[in-house]
Symmetry: C2
């Protein structure tokens, strides 16, 4: 995961193709806690983080939100009592880009810190 | 909506029945921006609020989170770039309770303020 968490996001232009599945599977080995989900036909990286209560979940939501603002790459964050589900994908490629794996690695590091 | 936004949540005990649909429809008239959705067979109150960017969405997520902590009744909050979807239901009745309508009214007021 160290390879991912120290990267920064690169600018994405429209019209790029999403990452091929072979490359996705290879990168997933670096972040085994994450899974690929599909919603509206778009592949996404998803992980649910557990917390002791609602307040701790909101605190984590804010940490991920700050990271998103720094990198200018924004996830979907589902905050509930005791858990936060973080979902990364890249709008401009309608799927997964290297940036999403970078952000997943950085998100996991936020929980580990 | 004034009837709802000034109420406070009452304690819920397990084993209560969810609200009958006739009562739900009557209360929905007080908060017409909200809709009843069903997930995992459980009725919920849902509304999506729009914002100009991700930061404003996170700020609203925090406002709803603070309200939830005050009332000790906690929603599911889906935060994305430019929008927050707020979903209220009551675990102990496996459906909707008067408290959810109260919280929906209070949530709408947070956006209106």
């Amino acid at each position: 995961m160290n390879e991912l968490k120290n990267k920064t996001c690169e600018p994405c232009s429209d019209g790029l193709d999403p990452m091929p599945s072979g490359e996705i599977n290879k990168l997933l080995e670096l972040i085994p806690e994450w899974e690929v989900t599909t919603e509206d036909g778009i592949s996404r990286l998803q992980r649910t983080f557990s917390f002791k209560d609602f307040k701790s979940a909101i605190t984590f939501t804010n940490l991920v939100g700050e990271l998103a603002e720094v990198e200018q790459h924004h996830p979907k964050l589902v905050t509930e009592w005791g858990k936060v589900t973080v979902i990364w994908w890249t709008h401009s490629v309608n799927g997964l880009h290297m940036n999403d794996f970078t952000m997943a690695g950085k998100t996991s590091k936020l929980k580990a810190d």
